[in-house]
């Protein structure tokens, strides 16, 4: 793995239990191993993916001999956590409330350790324009973009605004909701005439659209895991999807060809690893993340988005990167659990 120094300003992770009634039941509960609750499901558009991620992670963790309970997120969550008293929680919720920091806020409030980034940093990453601004400020490349709410098109009229966008950013463009994943509501627009339809599709998923320049190049995902000496990048995974990396291309086996490690020179591999580690650091991410990017012909890595709860399904990119690195997936997940359980430094 490629490593780097620890983030200079790590976020405040979950600390001591604020509410002792949620505290771990102790080692006697699980014959010495930690009791892990995997949260998956939820009510977002990505519920199906989350359920699949949750099942896969639970299965891997159980193979290491620890007890895992998979639980949905519903009105009984706090009661469940109080009754179960897990040692650590792994939120594998994709989409709203899972990745926007809300559930992590709740876990902090009740003092339960959990895997992954804290709520404040999650909130920044969840909102693509805000995270892009943070990346730009740190000197990282991300496609040029505008962020516009539905109400603006209503107030100013759609066509003049769309014309201005095309003049400003050119074509092709990518239209996507500012929040959410799995390419839901995402359209690549090659012709200005297709932009209104793309906007309508995008706004079905959220109130605000991110419209950015489409970058031509190699599509890559670089996963980052915290290590003893700081965050380390796993081998980049290259994505080759003939019809675009849309929902079906992501979750229907066979639709997409993956190269892990990516077909990159050593210099390119270092470049994209460094970009992902830097993104992990400047966004104050913890334990694990995945950065999606395009490496263009000039050698610039354009970061598209960063994920605090990367997919963990059979089709997902982080597990492929782990396999390419030669690590055992279950052992790595166990290491991540141990990280979440470790006392705050």
């Amino acid at each position: 793995m490629t490593s780097s120094a620890p983030a200079p300003s790590a976020p405040a992770p979950s600390g001591d239990p604020a509410d002792s009634s949620f505290g771990p039941a102790g080692s006697d509960a699980t014959d010495g191993g930690p009791l892990v609750v995997v949260l998956s499901g939820g009510l977002s558009h990505e519920r199906d993916v989350s359920l699949r991620s949750g099942r896969r992670v639970a299965e891997a963790l159980r193979s290491t001999g620890i007890e895992v309970i998979v639980h949905d997120v519903d009105a009984d969550l706090l009661t469940f956590l109080r009754d179960t008293r897990p040692d650590v929680v792994w939120p594998l919720l994709h989409g709203a409330s899972g990745e926007d920091g809300s559930v992590r806020d709740v876990l902090d409030m009740v003092g339960l350790p959990y895997v992954g980034t804290g709520p404040r940093a999650s909130r920044v990453v969840w909102n693509k324009p805000i995270s892009k601004a943070a990346l730009l400020e740190a000197g990282l490349a991300t496609p040029d973009y505008v962020t516009l709410p539905q109400s603006l098109f209503r107030d100013l009229g759609a066509q003049p605004v769309l014309d201005t966008i095309v003049r400003r950013l050119g074509l092709p463009l990518v239209v996507k909701p500012t929040e959410g994943g799995s390419a839901l509501g995402v359209t690549v627009v090659a012709r200005a005439g297709d932009l209104p339809r793309a906007m309508v599709e995008c706004f079905a998923y959220g109130e605000t659209a991110l419209i950015e320049q489409a970058i031509d190049g190699v599509e890559l995902a670089v996963s980052v895991i915290d290590g003893p000496d700081g965050p380390e990048a796993l081998p980049a995974v290259e994505i080759v999807a003939d019809g675009g990396y849309d929902y079906a291309a992501r979750y229907v086996a066979g639709e997409t060809e993956f190269f892990a490690p990516a077909r990159l020179t050593a210099e390119q591999a270092t470049l994209v690893s460094d970009a992902a580690i830097r993104a992990h650091q400047v966004l104050h991410l913890r334990h694990l993340s995945r950065t999606d990017m395009i490496l263009d012909r000039s050698g610039t890595a354009h970061i598209l988005e960063v994920n605090v709860a990367p997919g963990m399904t059979e089709m997902s990119l982080l597990p492929q990167a782990v396999a390419a690195s030669g690590h055992d997936l279950a052992a790595l997940y166990r290491t991540i659990i141990d990280m979440a359980l470790a006392p705050v430094r």
């Binding site: 558009h45 066509q159 839901l184 079905a204 086996a253 210099e267 390119q268 492929q320």
Partner: protein, 436 residues
């Protein structure tokens, strides 16, 4: 720069190149993934087709099941015949007699739900490229079967009186002129899924005459025929013509889908092939399920149960159409006289498929009309089911749906277009069977 490494590509499916052509369409779409949310209690699902089983006398059924295993366990848990248990086939002849079908137990082949019957019928009749005629719109599960046998489905329009005979005749004439091989007409004549309409008494003999004239078999799928809210059941197509009609029936809607018991009533030559096809597919339908259904029919007042269901579903139908009138006057819909579904036409310019994510956000679900067309058209319609949610939940669901439609209407007005998604017609867009 260094040389590029020789990394082999991976499609995460080592058998990707080995699948039969008929499996190429077997992939779930993002629409289907959205239905994963619909089963959560926070969401009012008007999407699924699950019957409301809480109305069943579960304590009585439990007792009869216990007695069945205690007294006939070695039979119930054993292999059975490919044709199905005779005791059940006798009961089936009595059930279908309510719709004017005169059948002998020998004419009946028991199947694993009527879905399996549909599969077997298609298996023995359809070669790749053969034409199957279906209604437009048509049951999504049937379209999936036809697709898996690589049929070319041609859909013929419905109106308020069901399949339009003139359109059927013109279509069959055109196909004959083109030299196409039409194998059968698939029709749901009563309280059709999804359109909710029934083939009128006047049209029934007309449709049969047209098919007879063109040499086309009729596959009559009738899961809802006994669930009419007004009057007596309509005579089945099979009651007019025993040689030209295969009758598919089911206990899934009138009793319980968990047993997976359906049946075909067929002319003897077809029956013999269906039995062999069934043995090839499943060896034999579940003996335990067959005997459970037979025991239920023998010991419980199943006619009274169906009457209770009619009342229950009528109340829910009323709740749905009432709420539509109150909250969604800009849409139009039919008022079904039975069955489970209302077919809603959206206000002009709206796309039900594109709107579904917004609906899921608002915690209400429906099935976009595109699921019921072989070519992916039908985006201006949605199917709303009233079978599972309570009347209060139905009204709340429609209230939420109205907000969704209003939001989408505003969006379409702003941009002057709907999303006009171009769905892959091969994608599976219907809900899974366990969706409420």
């Amino acid at each position: 720069m260094n040389e590029l490494p020789e990394t082999p590509g991976n499609r995460l499916d080592p058998w990707f190149g080995s699948y039969a052509a008929r499996a190429h369409g077997m992939r779930a779409s993002e629409i289907r993934a959205l239905f994963a949310v619909a089963n959560r209690p926070e969401v009012v699902s008007l999407a699924g087709g699950m019957p409301y089983l809480e109305g069943l006398p579960l304590d009585v059924i439990a007792e009869t099941m216990q007695r069945l295993i205690a007294t006939k366990g070695t039979t119930a848990l054993q292999y059975g015949s490919g044709q199905g248990e005779e005791v059940l086939r006798e009961h089936i002849t009595q059930v279908v007699a309510l719709e004017g079908v005169s059948a002998h137990p020998d004419d009946v082949v028991v199947t694993t739900g009527s879905q399996s019957a549909l599969d077997l019928v298609t298996r023995i009749f359809v070669d790749p490229g053969d034409v199957v005629i279906a209604e437009a719109p048509s049951y999504v599960g049937a379209l999936g079967v036809f697709r898996s046998y690589q049929a070319d489905v041609v859909q013929v329009p419905l109106d308020a009186d069901g399949l339009v005979p003139a359109e059927l005749d013109a279509t069959l004439t055109r196909l004959a002129a083109e030299g196409r091989r039409v194998k059968f007409l698939y029709t749901v004549p009563n309280f059709q899924n999804p359109a909710g309409v029934s083939l009128s008494a006047e049209r029934r003999p007309q449709v049969l005459e047209i098919c007879r004239r063109h040499g086309v078999l009729v596959v009559e799928d009738n899961p809802y025929g006994l669930l009419g809210f007004d009057g007596e059941p309509m005579p089945a197509l099979r009651s007019y013509d025993t040689d030209g009609v295969l009758y598919l029936g089911s206990f899934s809607k009138t009793f319980a889908p968990g047993y997976r018991v359906g049946f075909v009533i067929a002319p003897h030559a077809v029956r013999d092939k269906l039995v062999l096809a069934s043995e090839s597919a499943v060896l034999s339908p579940s003996n335990a399920s067959q005997l459970a259904v037979a025991t239920y029919l023998d010991t419980c007042d199943w006619k009274a149960q169906i009457k209770d269901y009619r009342e229950l579903y009528r109340e829910r139908r009323d709740a749905l159409v009432g709420a539509l009138g109150e909250h969604l006057p800009s849409a139009s819909w039919n008022v079904p006289k039975g069955g489970f579904f209302v077919w809603v036409r959206l206000p002009d310019g709206l796309d039900a498929r594109a709107m579904l994510p917004r609906a899921v956000t608002a915690r209400v679900a429906y099935v976009p009309g595109t699921a019921f067309y072989y070519d992916g058209s039908g985006s201006d319609h949605m199917r709303l089911s009233f079978c599972f949610p309570t009347p209060d939940r139905i009204r709340e669901g429609v209230r939420r749906l109205a907000g969704v439609v209003n939001g989408e209407s505003e969006l379409v007005q702003i941009f002057g277009t709907s999303a006009q998604l171009d769905p892959d017609a091969d994608d599976v867009e219907g809900p899974a069977p366990d969706l409420a």
